[in-house]
């Protein structure tokens, strides 16, 4: 009996095995023609071009690159990858196309493109921050969007009500963090900086505006409720007003008198954004390579770091990496003219030439500061990256 059961279980496992073996990676297709590269590197050679609609299996996502497999590969083994592709270009294969493609489509043969009316599936690539401005979710940037959070510049005695005759409920030391709101007749209601609810009933007490904003604060004039807590210039973390009008000040019950100093919880509740920070510069390189300019061209001392040639779209491209040995940032036009002079020296008929210009203090294995692209007729495009000057001697 037991043997029979075991045999049945084994049989079920064996039958399930092929299905289980396919349970890895994801069937995907590129959104546009994309190079299938030999390694996870834009500079690595292109093995093939994946066309939209062509179904492949992707897995082993690393550094934004997928390893690409034929869709019918059963074993999850990176050594069987036919190449690598940037994750951002891949989309999940449409459900209908995926099933047959998994059995038949060879990678080098473009499959029939997905129907144009199909709803575009969400991008498979992990969400990456974009340089195009995108507003952050308000819930994250303004978790408690009311009043003002600030650090007291002096010791402040809180009153039970907005009156100097109302009696003192507690004292706050200079440097203590508080949230203030409901400015009315020269008095602020003072709250815990962590207080999520704009409710006078939660106020610790009241403080004169002079004590919060300093002696130069506006005179204690009655203000309309809607303007009562408008952020002021010296505000540390200004927050927009909530839509609701504040309740009447007289309705606020005074909080029970706590200890004279701030409780530890409040001391610890200083917003992280306000703490002083000292960090080592991320721009300083550990073992910087400092070439010496051993040649002179166009008035610049320079060194050729590397010359490489690769094929792209049927065109041979020579890439020359040049280090400019300068102490002052040259004008953009001067670098462009220098790059043109390099092209004149290095050009070869029928080949495009790219001149990458690196500056001192920049990572010579990273992005170049300036790039000039030339064809047989001369300069085609030229651009610089001011981003790379940050943290260098050329930063302004």
């Amino acid at each position: 009996m037991i043997r029979a059961a075991l045999r049945a279980a084994l049989l079920a496992l064996l039958l399930a095995a092929p299905a289980l073996a396919q349970e890895w990676g994801e069937l995907a297709t590129p959104a546009s023609p994309v190079n299938l590269r030999q390694a996870r590197d834009l500079k690595s050679a292109s093995r093939d071009v994946l066309m939209p609609g062509e179904i492949v299996r992707v897995d082993f996502l690393e550094d934004g690159w997928y390893a690409v497999f034929r869709p019918n590969i059963k074993v999850r083994d990176e050594s069987k990858a036919i190449g690598y592709v940037r994750a951002g270009f891949m989309r999940p294969a449409p459900a209908k196309a995926a099933a047959p493609a998994a059995k038949t489509a060879p990678v080098s043969t473009p499959a029939v493109p997905a129907p144009a009316k199909a709803v575009p599936p969400p991008a498979m690539a992990p969400r990456e921050p974009r340089l195009e401005p995108v507003a952050p979710p308000a819930a994250l940037t303004q978790p408690q969007a009311w009043g003002r959070v600030l650090s007291l510049k002096q010791r402040v005695d809180l009153s039970r009500r907005p009156s100097k005759y109302a009696g003192q409920v507690r004292s706050l030391e200079a440097g203590a963090w508080v949230r203030v709101d409901f400015l009315d007749q020269g008095w602020y209601a003072v709250f815990s900086p962590e207080e999520p609810v704009r409710d006078l009933a939660k106020a610790w007490g009241y403080a004169p505006a002079e004590a919060i904003d300093g002696p130069s604060a506006a005179p204690a004039a009655p203000q309309p409720a809607a303007e009562a807590s408008e952020p002021e210039p010296e505000s540390e973390t200004p927050a927009p007003l909530p839509a609701a009008a504040p309740p009447a000040a007289s309705a606020a019950p005074a909080p029970a008198a706590p200890a004279m100093s701030l409780p530890p919880k409040v001391q610890a509740a200083v917003p992280a954004s306000a703490r002083p920070v000292t960090v080592a510069s991320p721009f300083v390189q550990r073992n910087p390579e400092i070439p010496v300019g051993d040649k002179t061209l166009h008035g610049f001392r320079y060194a050729v770091l590397d010359t490489d040639e690769e094929q792209g779209n049927g065109v041979s491209v020579i890439e020359v990496k040049v280090y400019l040995d300068v102490t002052v940032l040259p004008e953009r036009e001067a670098i462009r003219d220098f790059a043109t002079s390099v092209w004149r020296e290095k050009r070869q008929g029928g080949r495009e030439l790219v001149v990458d210009v690196f500056l001192p203090d920049t990572d010579l294995k990273g992005l170049p500061y300036a790039v000039g692209r030339f064809d047989d007729s001369g300069l085609q495009e030229f651009f610089t990256r001011r981003t790379l000057l940050f943290g260098t001697r050329f930063a302004r």
Partner: protein, 176 residues
């Protein structure tokens, strides 16, 4: 035997005490998009990208004008030029090539965006790790979509932006 029980009980107590200690790990948050939008280097990267796109646009525009000029010339001489069909075919190929160039340009702009964003975020990452270590954070989350609520005290984005801004204008140390 009773000693064994006592030792076991002590171990259990120690383990029980250790659990809350481990649970006190501080979780922080960094908003990568804000770093790109608000830091000086992030803004510079946006400007670089805009200039890069303009340069691509300039190249494409120049080529388009060249092709259009050729087409106009061909239309004017089509009736008299015996070589017109061959020129027409050459022009068609140029239009095809131009379409491909437009696609490639868009692709290169996207890649440049990724390169610049990655460069900025690598620097921000280095700053973030230092701040996290200094302030005792054990985890820093960076995916705003995965977070329902975060207290201001756990958000280190402003600190990272400020530190990045300070570091980016500081001159590098003098080489020996």
């Amino acid at each position: 035997m009773s000693r064994c029980f006592a030792a076991l009980a002590a171990l259990i107590c120690l383990a029980a005490l250790a659990v809350p200690a481990r649970a006190e790990g501080k979780v922080g948050f960094l908003h990568p998009q804000r770093v790109l939008n608000e830091s000086k280097i992030g803004k510079a990267a946006q400007e670089d990208l805009a200039r890069f796109a303009q340069e691509k646009d300039r190249v494409l525009r120049t080529r388009t004008q060249e092709i259009q000029a050729e087409q106009k010339k061909l239309q004017e001489t089509a009736a008299t030029d015996p070589d017109a069909p061959r020129k027409q075919e050459a022009l068609r190929l140029k239009y095809q090539q131009q379409d491909r160039l437009i696609q490639e340009s868009n692709e290169e702009i996207r890649m440049e965006e990724q390169r610049l964003a990655r460069y900025v975020m690598q620097k921000a990452d280095a700053v973030m790790k230092q701040i996290a270590a200094q302030q005792g954070f054990t985890i820093i989350l960076t995916d705003p979509e995965a977070i329902g609520y975060i207290d201001a005290s756990a958000d280190i984005t402003d600190q990272v932006i400020r530190a990045l801004d300070q570091a980016s204008v500081a001159p590098p140390p003098k080489k020996k």
